[in-house]
Symmetry: C3
Subunit: 428 residues, 3 copies
């Protein structure tokens, strides 16, 4: 099963060098690579200028090359070395300027002198370079040539959408974003883990829920998607996750939906509590990704986040240090597992009803020890507890929480009791 | 009042040696002794084979004698020495067998080498002997004669039922069980304390509630009783207790109903908090007696348990060490007292209404000091507090909890305020 | 602004020497002084014998002089030195008595030997003197002349009422009492701070709420006032405070309404938490002032108390030590400030609604940084948080609590977002 971790890490490697932004060829190329794993992934293009609620789709940005030539002729901040060197959405420039003027367009991190920061300016035209503090400190007085071969054109915003049908048209919604250039935890781990979750879902014999899976640019992408789909989503979506920062080896983290008690929240807390009890709980005030849109007033989708180390909470965040050493096969696999378990719990969750009044006689069905001694086994306890709470007012997930056993460990007992016609169930 | 403790202990002594099981002559004889204290106790017989929900009444078991003869001619495991030596519902046998074969039918406790365990096999035919580990370790290779003079016949299951009428047909339900052979806390303390509670109730001048009191075999008895009575009980029963393990000198214990917030739970917590604050709280997951049936889905009676040391939670449990040294007159009397207080609280509990707007002028009624100084007495505080919460949305029990005074200490103040026409009341 | 503290302290000085009681000339004179600050304050007289719920207005008490002449001719307990020397509502007397008889009519505090206690006997006719323990201990055997020149006549009970109109007829109710003679925290601080609050309210350009402000004698005054006004008050009053013990330099204190979750409680807790986090929380069981009436069953006004050191909780309480050293300009000003902030929060509180779906594009309005870096400012965070909880189910006060920012710090952001047409509001 750990092969899955390696496969996901390999896919990250393949995607890592591509220059992505909220629009443009890098995004399209990356999406096509994920589409290679997901044959039914549909690519959608939304033209520049399209109105999306309070926003409109921006111009498309593409870039071929960029660098700075120092007074001594040395090239620095080469885009081809690291696409983080150029501020996202930089306008083209080709000009000789003084060190003073250059400094006004340089960005570095004094506290992380060997990191290139990740900076963007989507909605205000500017140009700029990101550079390590160490390199910046070495710049000498003189004339610098700054060169950015980019373009901002009327084009389109691209996203991917995959619908995996289930027994009902109630939906689980999974969303991740692909607009970050060469960084690994935030953000290649999200779309890569979600791609493998989608493959696993598509391979299942049956699914109770239909799955709506989208790969977008962050913020403008989710706003664009919602503006075209939110009405039917509000009717259908019963749960789901924003999939991000899910590939490193550190903490598991939970960030609630705005309402805090949706099915997604309950499932996330159950899975983390029983499989990763050291997980960190954040509040909705700590949000910072597309749950900002999915949980906004009037949208109100039941979406929360299960992460490993949360965006903003690790030193490598939004710098060149967020790389493929930080994200590991085991980290990706752990993230995959908690997401898979969470989806399984949503699939398993149903209202349970006892069929007979009082305790049934389990002994005559071979489900109870024939000898009454001082102690009873945990299996029998679990079965009795499950039966006594199957009163039509609790779901299987709620019962699992009450009796303190993970839902996945109760699944077999539930099946046995159904087969014996001792419990029945109803969709939540 | 401690004479009551001795009377109860004497009754335990009288009942102790009788061999009881879920059916049979020992149960009938024991019930008749309790009936000597409760003239209106009705004995009910339910024939073998009667369907009771998912169960049916088993055959009746009676036993005259049992023992093992050792190779050297010595008799061991003599039923007449201790009826725990024979597994409950053992089929008859009279046979010479090897030590090896014998071992497969012996039960002992390695960790309690001088205790005879209590074992039953109601629903699978087998035979067996229970023996101390010390004695078992002395057995030598050779031929053993095993002799059990028992019978399993079509007969009936026996239970006792006592209805003590009150002013309304709303009922308090009290249940205990009498199916255990020679053990004292679990279980002679329960039926004995409940018998004395019934005597006390029958002797009261008036009762708000009708009392339904049953003495049954555990599990099959309560299932049988419910199968014949649950419909009217669901309409009438407003509270009650499963009375068990209530005679030793150790902890007081509370085990909630399944819903956890019934009148019975509220009363039990109030009484224990204010009279036995060191009591232990268990969860419904720790259940193990007839609340398993009374609180099952679709039955849902408001029944919880007030115990001293709970079944399963003391080393002597279900062994020959659970004897009349463990159960004491003070232990039984303490159990009697918390049950009595709990029933009194249910009788006292009612919705209270202030009659006048704003504080009444207590001074002109002689209920308030005429001199206003720095401090006020707790009596006056309690009276003012009672008045201010008598708003028609709180019961006297709730008010007692809010103001932090046991209900029995407020009773006199409530009567005074009623007499002064400052509060009125309504049944809950 | 600290001048306000001095002004309030000066007003306390002016009022301090006047002998006040629940009726009589001292109360009238004190009320007239406050009326000098509040031109629209209406004085109401309610005749002796008027029925008020369970009470009736007592006779009016006035006193000119009182003292004791010792065997050696020395005058002690002179009313003109301290009006606390005479028990409130003492009947007239002029008689020579033995020390023994005198002792039965003296009141002192053994634990505070240099304090004169404050004692009253409104509803039982008696006479008596209050004396320091030190002085009492010096009394010698002999004949004492006791002289009290007081009268109990059919007159009236006096109170002041001020209505300051607002945009709606929904009311905020403020109440304080003026019936205590020469004491400072309990009670001149209350009516004095409330008078300055009323001046501030009257000077505001606009008020959402109408303000009903009353200055009464405690208990009988609030009962009298309610008996004439409670029906319309129950319809109109949405919040308010009993203003008492609000002038010393020690703790801030909160005493809840009986229901505990009214607008007043929410506002008091918000203001104290964010401006005086070391405040002390009492329970409604600790009540002792006019909230006893305002929160009584059937009256049920949403009134709680914000105090500095609560009545009964400081050693000087109800003695001559509660003086104008204990109450200070800073103490009074601090009390004024928390009350003012609380009233502002009630005025600000309203239900908020986001206007656009998803996050609005704040950048195009100049409300968001154009450069996306690792961090965001608290201003922007607050704005985003405010928007995301403006869902029509939260008031601004609730949002302030959720996002952990005092409402007064959010006011400007709310105004900005309204101006940008990004949120709208509705009265609670």
């Amino acid at each position: 099963m750990h092969d899955l971790g390696k496969e996901m890490h390999n896919l990250c490697h393949e995607l890592f060098p591509i220059n992505r932004s909220i629009t443009g060829e890098g995004f399209r190329k990356s999406l096509a690579i994920l589409g290679g794993h997901l044959p039914n992934l549909k690519t959608v293009e939304v033209p520049t200028g399209t109105k999306c609620f309070d926003w409109e789709v921006p111009r498309e940005w593409n870039i071929k090359d960029a660098y700075i030539v120092c007074p001594n002729g040395r090239k620095i901040c080469e885009f081809k070395q690291s696409n983080l060197h150029v501020i996202g959405y930089s306008v083209p420039i080709n000009k000789v300027i003084s060190l003073d003027e250059l400094q006004g367009n340089l960005y570095s991190l004094a506290e992380q002198p060997n990191a290139i920061p990740y900076i963007t300016s989507y909605y205000k035209e500017r140009w700029g370079f990101c550079i390590t503090q160490n390199e910046r400190d070495k710049l000498e007085v003189g004339e610098y040539r700054v060169f950015i071969d980019s373009e901002l054109i009327n084009g389109s915003l691209t996203y991917g959408e995959l619908i995996i049908p289930g027994e009902t048209d109630k939906e689980i919604f999974l969303s991740s974003y692909l607009c970050h250039p060469s960084m690994a935890n935030n953000e290649l781990s999200g779309p890569v883990v979600m791609t493998f979750i989608a493959k696993w879902l598509a391979g299942l014999k049956s699914r109770k829920y239909t799955y709506r899976i989208v790969i977008l640019p962050e913020t403008i992408g989710s706003i664009t998607y919602l503006s075209r789909n939110y009405k039917k989503m509000k009717e259908r979506v019963v749960g789901g996750f924003n999939v991000t920062c899910i590939g490193d080896d550190r903490a598991y983290s939970y960030l609630p939906s705005r309402k805090g008690d949706t099915l997604s929240d309950k499932v996330a807390l159950h899975v983390l509590q029983y499989s990763q009890p050291d997980y960190i709980t954040y509040g909705f005030l700590d949000r910072g990704s597309d749950e900002r849109q999915y949980c906004s007033p009037g949208i109100d989708l039941p979406i929360c986040s299960i992460m490993r180390t949360k965006y903003g909470c690790y030193p490598e965040y939004h710098t060149s240090l967020d790389d493929l050493d930080l994200v590991t096969p085991t980290g990706l696999f752990g993230g995959f597992e908690v997401l898979m378990k969470s989806i399984e719990c949503m699939e398993y969750d149903e209202v349970l009803f006892s069929v007979v009044l009082c305790e049934p006689q389990l002994g005559k069905r071979g489900l109870y020890p024939t000898l009454s001694t001082k102690t009873s086994t945990s299996n029998v306890r679990n079965m009795m507890n499950l039966l006594v709470y199957s009163d039509g007012s609790h779901t299987s997930l709620e019962i699992a929480n009450i009796i303190g056993v993970p839902l996945w460990e109760l699944k077999e007992t539930i099946e046995t009791l159904k087969k014996e016609n001792l419990i029945t169930s109803k969709a939540c």
